[in-house]
């Protein structure tokens, strides 16, 4: 498939994530939208990896060029995402414990 298609799809997903972050008030939803952004990036990376593979050919000696590292990068992104989720949900739960709400609009003790 033409790479541009993938790019646009990924961007679309990414921006949907951004819009979600901008429009929702529920911390968890916002967080989910961020995960969506990450996944958009993953798709993009995989697409690029295959694009480079297509260009270089599988016989290409240097690992740099046949797109393997992109897929590994995706793997690392997932790792990081998992870690983030652990921490993030912990924070949200802690917040909920204290305020019984996950509404970010109530987060305005700190301002100015």
């Amino acid at each position: 498939m033409p790479i541009n298609l993938y790019i646009f799809v990924a961007l679309a997903l990414f921006c949907i994530g951004v819009i979600g972050v901008l429009t929702r008030r529920n911390a968890i939803i916002i967080f989910m939208c961020i995960e969506l952004m990450l996944n958009a990036v993953n798709l993009l990376l995989v697409a690029f990896s295959k694009m480079h593979l297509a260009e270089m050919g599988s016989a290409a000696p240097a690992l740099a060029n046949n797109g393997t590292d992109a897929q590994l990068f995706v793997f690392f992104i997932m790792v990081v995402a998992a870690a983030e989720v652990t921490v993030g949900l912990a924070i949200i739960v802690m917040m909920y414990r204290n305020t019984h709400s996950v509404d970010v609009n109530f987060l305005n003790r700190l301002k100015n």
């Binding site: 951004v18 972050v21 901008l22 429009t23 008030r25 916002i30 970010v104 609009n105 987060l107 305005n108 003790r109 700190l110 301002k111 100015n112």
Partner: protein, 635 residues
């Protein structure tokens, strides 16, 4: 032994020493000691001056320059601290130290009421004045002259404000100082101009290089110098300080505001006569100003009732005559009149002082009268003075004033006519003064009458000496018409004015005209005198105010009020206004910057709303902007 002229620095040195002694030890010295130091120092320098004068009279080739040390010197300009002795300066030395000495002696008695430290302060000031005056006349360049020039101004400030408790007196002192300062700046500017054009201020070099100056430069320089002179010598427009200066002790008025300081202007112009001779425009201005001043002051003097004020205005008007003389190029006449005027005006002031002393500081002549019986010597000497100033032959005033009038006539009969009118007025107000003071019957309070007494000898003797001088002083300058080749003063001063005389030859009217004018005028003057005496002998104190013209004269043509309204008030208002502007204008702007920053701070901090949503929104907008800039504007 070396020539005494080499020791000319002794002349100012003695007064300086006297000043230091009296000034520093004023709390420990006894009055008598103070008096001795004060008068003695002047006497010493008088003696030296006499010796110098004799030397000069014996004949010197050209002025003698005595350099003490290098005062200011930068680049190629060098201003030495040097004295110049020639006929002119030696003559002035005599006048200053001589009269100065007499007045010191007089003061010892006059000021005896003061407590010793103030007494010492008084003599310190007086010595300092003499010192500065001597610097003025001895200086061999304009800068040294300027030092003396400002120095005498300072001393007159100090002496006018001598009784500093009285705020009016110190106001008068300030007025005198500031007005002098205005003039002095003209002088200073002239000095800079000279340096800028010919790079020197030494008289000898300046006068030798005078040809290298353009006529514009000459006019400018001479005009500026003349401005200085108007300040010092109380000419229009800067004359109003002199009458107020009468706030000082009477001997001070005699010495500073009659005999010496006020003649500094005349001296200066006479000294730089060559410049003026080559700047006819300025000469005309000088003459006109002199004439105007002479008349204006005379008119005012007609209606004054304060004995010292009358004398003050007469001084102004006499100075006017001197400037007329300078204006028409009769330098000798000017100097001559300076000399005689010094004699009789000092005499008159000291006489007035004696009267005031007797009247316990009463100065209003309406409260006097008939003093001739009690104060005989004073009366006689005063009469001599009046006759001298009125110009009655053979009193000194006659000769000097006549010389001026003659010169004026040659320049322009109208000038002569106006000057003559002035002379008539002079005679009138002087004898009005005389009559109201000494003739008629006493109008003061009884206890004043009870205390009336002749002054002590220390005051009388100077009076007598001065009376003699003002009677005989004129004989050094007997005009050609009366006695052939007997104008010894002119001959004596000849070298100083040689150059000017060479450029513009002074010609005399033919003898018949001159005699006609001379005696015609004198006859009229005599009539005026009799009229005045007759009119005011039987003067009675009356309640009613002067009206019309008399009132204007009594109020001195309202000149002070006009100055007040036109200059002083606006300046003060301007100062106040600027003061406001500084606080609420410029400073407001400066603080305004600070305020606006704080305002911005208060507003911008609202961006920090605490809402994650808005934060992210702003971030995204920021990203969009950066992208727009980077990706699109750049391509």
């Amino acid at each position: 032994m070396k020539n005494i002229i080499e020791y000319v620095w002794l002349v100012p040195l003695f007064p300086l020493v006297g000043f230091l002694l009296n000034g520093l030890l004023r709390n420990s010295l006894s009055k008598s000691l103070t008096g001795i130091i004060g008068s003695g120092s002047i006497l010493a320098s008088f003696i030296v001056s006499v010796l110098i004068f004799l030397d000069v009279k014996a004949g010197i080739d050209g002025p003698v320059i005595v350099t003490l040390f290098d005062f200011i010197s930068f680049e190629d300009v060098s201003i030495p601290f040097a004295f110049q002795v020639d006929q002119l300066s030696s003559l002035f030395l005599l006048i200053i130290t001589g009269i100065g000495f007499l007045i010191h002696v007089y003061s010892v008695a006059y000021m005896h009421e003061e407590n010793s430290s103030h007494f010492a302060r008084y003599f310190a000031y007086l010595n300092l004045f003499v010192f500065s005056m001597l610097l003025l006349v001895l200086g061999s360049n304009y800068v040294i002259m300027f030092i003396g020039w400002e120095g005498v101004g300072l001393c007159s400030y100090l002496l006018i404000g001598y009784w500093f408790k009285n705020i009016d007196y110190s106001n008068a002192a300030r007025k005198a100082f500031v007005m002098n300062r205005i003039g002095d700046l003209g002088f200073l500017l002239a000095v800079f101009w000279l340096i800028g054009r010919i790079g020197t201020v030494n008289f000898s070099e300046v006068f030798s290089k005078v040809d290298s100056l353009s006529s514009l430069d000459l006019t400018a320089i001479t005009m500026l110098l003349f401005i200085g002179a108007t300040g010092k010598s109380a000419q229009i427009p800067l004359y109003t300080w002199l009458p107020d200066a009468m706030a000082g002790p009477t001997p001070v008025s005699a010495l500073i505001h009659a005999a010496t300081m006020v003649t500094a202007g005349i001296y200066m112009i006479a000294r730089s006569n060559i410049l003026y001779t080559m700047a006819p425009t300025t000469q005309t201005v000088v003459m006109v100003v002199g004439l105007a001043t002479a008349l204006l002051a005379a008119t005012i003097a007609l209606k004054q009732n304060d004995i010292k004020k009358v004398l003050a205005y007469s001084t102004v008007s006499q100075l006017g005559y001197m400037f007329i003389a300078l204006g028409v190029g009769a330098y000798t006449g000017a100097v001559f009149h300076v000399m005689t005027h010094a004699f009789f005006k000092a005499l008159l002031f000291l006489g007035a002082g004696s009267v005031i002393h007797a009247m316990h500081h009463e100065q209003d002549i309406r409260n006097m009268g008939g003093l001739s019986k009690k104060l005989k010597t004073t009366h006689l000497t005063f009469l001599v003075g009046c006759l001298a100033i009125a110009g009655i032959i053979p009193f000194s005033g006659f000769f000097s004033k006549d010389e001026i009038l003659a010169a004026a006539f040659m320049k322009n009969p109208i000038v002569w006519a106006l000057a003559a009118i002035g002379a008539l007025m002079t005679a009138f107000y002087m004898f009005r003064l005389y009559a109201m003071t000494f003739l008629g019957k006493f109008r003061g309070t009884s206890e004043q009458e009870h205390h009336l007494h002749e002054s002590p000898p220390a005051m009388i003797i100077p009076l007598v000496i001065l009376a003699v001088l003002s009677f005989a002083g004129g004989l050094v300058g007997i005009p050609e018409v009366l006695m052939h080749d007997s104008h010894s003063l002119a001959k004596f001063l000849e070298p100083v004015f040689a150059e000017s005389n060479r450029i513009s030859v002074p010609h005399h009217p033919d003898h018949t005209t001159e005699l006609l004018l001379m005696f015609g005028l004198m006859a009229v003057i005599a009539l005026v005198i009799f009229w005045a005496v007759g009119k005011y002998k039987k003067y009675e104190k009356t309640a009613e105010e002067n009206t019309g013209f008399a009132r204007i004269l009594e109020n001195k043509w309202y000149v002070d009020e006009i100055y007040e309204a036109l200059i002083i008030r606006p300046v003060n208002a301007f100062g106040k206004m600027l003061g406001k502007l500084d606080n609420f204008g410029i400073d407001w702007v400066v603080n305004g910057v600070g305020r606006s920053v704080q305002y911005a701070s208060r507003q911008i901090r609202l961006l920090q709303s605490g809402q994650v949503g808005s934060y992210v929104l702003l971030m995204v907008i920021g990203m969009i902007v950066l992208f727009a800039l980077q990706v699109f504007l750049k391509k």
